[in-house]
Each structure stands twice: as C-alpha cells, then as structure tokens.
C-alpha cells in the first residue's frame, strides 16, 4: 500500500471511497435498494432526493450508525466493515447530522473533547484542546469561542463547532446532511467558503441539500436517489436545476409562479404595540404592530434571531407578552392559552418542528389529529373514534405525500422531511382563519415545497389570513401580498410586494429604514 497523502489538518487523505450495492431495510420500508455511490478527494459530491429517498440512511451506514443488509464499503480499494461511529472516525470519516449532535450544557471545547483520549490520562486536557481548536479555526476560517456554552451560540456557530469536531477527529471525508437548512444566507456564504477550502485541500465532501441552487453553485458531481434507488450520477456542469428536479421527482416542476392578486377583506389578525421577552429575559419584540387581512399573505422577512420565533409564539399563546394587544376578527386574544387560540381558528406551524410541534414517540396518526381531539367525530364521551381517526390520517398522509410505512409508525422513525410534512398536513388542513407559518418549507424537498406553496395560496383564496415567516426571500416574494421586515424585534416597515425589490428588503433586513416609510394599508 502506498503512503497516504497528509492533509493540512494533519490527517491522512482518503483518495476514493465507494459504496457498492447497499441494501438497507427498515420495518415496512426498503430505504436503500442496491445503491451505488462514490466520492473522491478534492471533490464535493451532492446527494439529492425527495424526503424519504434514503439519503440519511445511506450516510448513516457510512458512519457506522446503521449496518447495511447487503453491499460493501471500499476505502482506497480495500473493503471495510464499519461497526460503529468509532470505526468510522478511525477511518477518517466525519458526519454533520441533519439534527445537530451537540450537548447544549457543555462548552465548545468540551463537546470537541468528548469521547477522545486525553493527553493527561484520566483528566481532561481542555486547555490543549482549546489551542488545537484555535489552530483549526484559523486554517478554515471557523471563528468560534472555545469556552462558550453551546446554548449561547447561534445555529451558524453551532454548525462551525460541528465541523471543528469532525476535523479535530481527523476527518478526511466529511458527510454534510442538510447542513444549510438552518443557516441564514450570510452564514451559508461563510460556510461555503470553508467547505471550498476543505475540498481544495484534498478533503472528500458529501453534501446533502434540498436547495438546488446550492448544489449547482458548489458541487462537482450529483447523485440522485428516488425511493431508495439510484436514479443517476451526473457532473454538475452538465446539468441544471430543472433537470435535477425532474430526476428527483420524476416529473417537471414549476419554480416561479404568479398568483392572481386578491381583494383584501377585513383585517383578520391585528397586532398592536406588542412587546415580549426572549428566553434569556431580554426584549425580543418591541412595539410590533401590523395587520393581516382575510385572504392576504403577509410575508415577514428578516435574518434569524430578530424576534421571529418569539412573535409566532406570542400569537400562538405559547409566550406571554409584556404589553400590547392581539386581535382576531375584533376579538381580543391577548393572554389566551394555546387551546383558546386554537379554538379561535389559529393554526401554527412552528419553526422548530422537531421539538415544538410533534411528539416523537407518538404515531403519525396521533400527531395528525392531536389538535382536533375534542371534535365530536374523533372522540365522544371520552372515547376515541378510532375508525374516523384512521380514515382522516390516511387521507392526510396521502394528500401530503408523507412517506411512512403506516399511520401507526412513530414519528421518530420518519425521515426528517416527512416528519415535517406531518405538522404541515395537520395545520394547513384545519382550514384556519389565521395561519402562522414559520419557515414552512425549511428542510422539505422541492416537490413538497411546491405543494405547500400551493396550499398556502389556496388557503388565501378561501379567506385565511396568513403570516408567513421566512428567511427565504424567494419564498417571501413568491407568496406574499405585502412584505414586513423585522429587525432587532422591531418592524422596519411594511411594503406592497409590487413595490418591493430584493435590494430594498435586503437593506431593511440589515436594519436600514426604508426611504419613505410606506405603510400600505
């Protein structure tokens, strides 16, 4: 065997990794069906596919979390068995998971050191770990504070910690499972700078994303999976977004659509001078006022961390306000409990769907009808009507194309995107008067994104007032009638979509006042 090349991080390079004929079954699902995949040093190889196509499953087998039922994994020509993450780490594989794997109550340095032998025997050597973190951070432009606790960090910074964790363990091949789903556009740019540098240094990178423009901008090859099978592998330069979308979904998709404008009805949701505190007890919302009419979509643009989740939670009754008023159809809702808010016809798609909106141990169908349990068709005299529940769940699973072996499967064994669809299905299908949708398409595939957008438009036509909270400006522009911008907990301005440009909104998102404050009402 030839001597391995050494990467600038000091780790031996992996020139070529192949996965051949990988088969993986779960109860009721063939998640990977004879999948072939390979990646080389100096390369970014994208792995695409709809929610539930089997991407994470394939990668978890490479990282030793799952074990293939058939097939083999070949490193630089040698077949290897990977029994556990520890084996994978020893082979030079790092993985950044779809849901971050960090211990909130520990510091950055402690998270990095976790599980590694210490140079001081049984005692930790956090000072040395800290030094090495700083070196790695320097090489790859990953500025993080080693002594900070994870809970103090923004999502973008946590992402950096994940990369450092992998590099620190000698990763020469890095698996990135939807790493950009939770980043702001600025953070995504920084992130790509780092990854490009790593690839140029000789790392092999596997990149999973539902955002085709990222895949086009930044990868060398693309492999598409559908229903657990290879659809094909292409060079990025030889393809385009539409072709990739077709490979994934099996039919052409519409990206940009123009919706007819609708005449605004009466104000449905009115928020007046609302203020609230964040979890850390500092003001997160300052005198926020706006209105959403029946049949209107108000887009709320803003960089994450400017008060969006707090606003959504206050309206949903999950967070107390310190002052101000919330009205729905002239009824005061301020200080209501979540149940009262639901009764008033408010549907809420929370941003952190895996923690806030779902009970992971409960089944798909239990999660689907959770909010409507007290309706007579689902329960009478304290007894659940299982027949109706099953029927309704089956309907929703079908219309929202949730990939699940059955309606009784627990949410925790669904793929990331399919778990999200369960909430979306539940909330959107309730025919709400007011829909609060926070990042509704984050982490869901393009087919589902199209579907969700269609549903939001449909709701609007039936008179729902929608507050669409999104960091994705394309989405805001595609769906909104008016656009409000939030910055540091304040509304910078509200403009009609037809008067808005990407620039003007972008400037307001960065905290600049609009030229002439236009309150289009």
């Amino acid at each position: 065997m030839t001597q391995k090349q050494i990467l600038p991080s000091g780790n031996p390079r992996i020139d070529r990794l192949e996965m051949q004929g990988i088969v993986k079954r779960f109860p009721g699902v063939l998640a990977n069906d004879h999948v072939n995949f390979d990646v080389n040093a100096f390369e970014v190889h994208a792995l695409l596919g709809e929610n539930g196509a089997g991407k994470s499953t394939l990668m978890k087998q490479l990282y030793g979390l799952y074990h293939p039922d058939q097939g083999q994994i070949i490193f630089d020509g040698e077949p290897r068995l990977i029994h556990s993450p520890r084996d994978a780490i020893n082979l030079g594989i790092g993985m950044i998971h779809q849901h971050f794997m960090l211990v909130d109550s520990l510091t950055v340095a402690e998270n990095v050191a976790l599980g590694l032998p210490s140079t001081r025997g049984i005692m930790t050597d956090l000072d040395r770990v800290t030094k090495r973190i700083c070196e790695l951070a320097e090489v790859y432009g990953l500025d993080v504070e080693p002594d900070a606790y994870i809970w103090q960090l923004s999502v973008g910074q946590q992402q950096k910690v994940e990369i450092i964790k992998a590099l620190y363990r000698g990763a020469a091949l890095l698996i990135l499972d939807e790493p950009t789903a939770v980043l702001t556009p600025q953070e995504v740019d920084d992130f790509f700078v780092t990854l490009t540098k790593m690839a140029n240094d000789g790392h092999a990178l596997i990149f999973i994303s539902h955002k085709l423009h990222e895949v086009m901008a930044f990868t060398h090859r693309v492999t598409v999976l559908r229903d657990g099978k290879n659809v094909g592998t292409v060079n990025t330069v030889d393809t385009n977004k539409n072709l990739l979308a077709e490979m994934m979904v099996g039919r052409p998709l519409n990206f940009i659509r123009n919706y007819k404008t609708i005449k605004c009805g009466n104000p449905r949701l009115k928020v007046e001078n609302l203020s609230a505190l964040s979890d850390r007890g500092v003001p997160a919302l300052k005198n926020v006022s706006f209105e959403v009419c029946a049949g209107e979509v108000l887009g709320l643009a803003g960089v994450s961390g400017n008060g969006q989740p707090e606003l959504a939670q206050v309206i949903a009754g999950l967070r107390p306000s310190t002052s101000g008023k919330i009205m729905i159809d002239d009824e005061n809702l301020t200080g209501s409990t979540p149940m009262q808010v639901i009764d008033k016809g408010v549907a809420y798609i929370p941003e952190k769907r895996n923690v806030e909106g779902l009970i992971k141990e409960f089944s798909v169908s239990e999660n689907l009808i959770m909010r409507d349990l007290d309706q007579e068709i689902y329960s009478r005299n304290a007894f659940l009507n299982m027949g109706n529940i099953a029927k309704r769940s089956a309907d929703l699973v079908k219309t929202f194309n949730v990939k699940t072996p059955s309606i009784d499967t627990p949410i925790k064994s669904l793929s990331g995107g399919n778990a999200q669809k369960v909430i979306l299905a539940r909330e959107i299908s309730r025919q709400p008067k007011v829909l609060i949708a926070a990042q509704p398409t984050r982490g869901v595939d393009i087919g589902a994104t199209e579907y969700i957008h269609e549903r939001i438009i449909e709701q609007r036509e039936t008179g729902t007032a929608t507050l669409l909270i999104s960091e994705d400006l394309d989405e805001i522009f595609a769906l909104s009638d008016r656009i409000a911008v939030i910055f540091h907990g304040e509304i910078m301005g509200v403009v009609d979509r037809k008067d808005a440009t990407l620039q003007s909104i972008g400037l307001m998102m960065a905290g600049e006042q609009p030229p002439e404050t236009k309150t289009a009402e």
Binding site: L65, H67, I89, D104, S105, L114, G115, I122
Partner: protein, 309 residues
Amino acid sequence: MEDLFTGSVLIGLLASAIRLATPYLYAAIGETFGQRSGVLNLGVDGIMLMGAFSAFYVVFKTGDLVGGVLLAALVGLLMGLLMAFISVTLSAEQGISGIGVYLFGLGMSDLLFQKLINNVQTVSGFPVAPIPLLSEIPVLGPILFRQNVLVYGAYILVPIAWFVLNKTTLGLKIKAVGENPEAADTLGVSVSRIRYFTVSLGGMLSGIAGASLSIALLNVFQFNLTNGLGFIAIALVYFGGWRPTWVLLGSLIFSFVNALQIWVQVVGLPIPSDIAVMTPYILTIVVLVISAQRVRPPSALSKAYERLE
C-alpha cells in the same frame, strides 16, 4: 432553654449531624452519578437494605467489619447491575424498574433476616477512630475528627465525585450521556457502557450506605431498617441540583435539623413531635429549592436510549 442549649450540646449536635449524614451521602453521591448519566434509580432504598443486611450478617457471624463493608459493596454492585440490565439493556421504564428493585430489596432483606437471624440483635460496629492531632483541635476536633472510618469515607467521597464529574474525561462522558445520548453515541461514546458503570457504582455506594447504618451508626438490623432513607437521598440529589457539593450541603442541613429535632424531643421541649419530625424535610427542601432553583435536570434523565435501527 438557655441552660439547656450550652456549647457542649451544640458540639454534640454538630458531631451527630456529621455522623448521621453518612448514609445519605453515600447513597446520594452514588445516585448523582446515575442521574447525571440519565438513569433515575428509585431502588436505592432497597439496595441499602440489602447492603445493610449483608454487612450486618458478616459482622454478626464473624465480627469482620471490613468483610462486612466489602460484602455490602458487592451486593450493592450486583443490584446496581440488575437495575442497569433492566433499564439500559432492556430499556424498561426507569421509574417502575427502580420501584421493582426497591421492593425486591425490601422483601429479600427481610426474608434473609428471618431465615438467618430471626430476632433483633446488636453487633459492635465500627469504633470511633479519632484522627491524631486533628481530633485535639478545640470545637472542630470533636465535631469532625472523632468519627468512625465509614463517616470519613463519606466525606472523602464528595471531592472525589466532584473531581470525577468536572475534571476527567469519564465525567465529561457521563454528563454528555445524560444530556444528549445521541450526540455522545455519534462520537463513539458507548451510552450503555457509561450507564452500566454509573448505575453499578451507584448500587455499590448504596450498599455501603446500608452498611454504614447497620454496622457503624445503629449497629442493628431489623425489617425496613432504612425507613425510606434512600428516597430522601434521591430527593437530596434533585434538590442539590445534581452537584456533589450541593448534595453535601443538603445532607448536612437535613442531618443537623434531624439531630436537633431528636434532641428537642429527648429534652422534652413543648413542641408537638409530629411537627418536630417534619422540620428536617421541610427545611432542607426550602433551603435547597431557594439556592439551587436555577439548575435544570439532565435532559435525558429517565429516558432509555436506543439507537433506532
């Protein structure tokens, strides 16, 4: 009252508080390890009873004090392993498993007692072992340094536990497994190995806690000797915010007020005995709730971990 509550009474009270805290400390520090790694073991009291009986039996038959402690530790370790097997390997609901272990210990210790000894007997337990020089210090000497070996051991355990949890790689793993077992797993830390370790250690220390009752403090054995003491220890872990130093503080407050309360009753002060008996519980809870209220329990506490496959 003035005449009753003299300096020497106070010294006596403090010395007995230090002594009485011993079983709480062993059990609560052991339980702290388990809970920090995410396992709630409600069986502590049962394990203590088994430890208490084992130690008592050895000393009753042979007079071998060290042998008694070793057997108590071993029996505790085995019961800890049993709890780990049920809650980690079988992923059973931890609360119920713990209660099972408790009932097993309660019944088994009594059965063995009936079969092997059958009537209440006393033994001569660990003698006071004054520490040369230190025990001569006025006031502090008699309070701290004229105790028996098991008492000293309990107090040495506190800084060791603190050190392990805060300064060692093992401690880091324990905390990570208790907060986010999935994350620990992806870094190659074996969640079940860590939990087996902490729960067995907790069992062993609970066994010794039992021994400290039967062959160092009370020197008897009878049915349900602990009288729920193991549950107090679990409460001390909660109210102490899962930190050894605060657990120590809690144990001391509890034992001091307890010693005081016993003294009050012995001297016959006009305080209803029900109220007197309640005070240690109430006071300890109040003090610790006020001082430790900002601490969150380990996020994965009492949740079984299974890698989905």
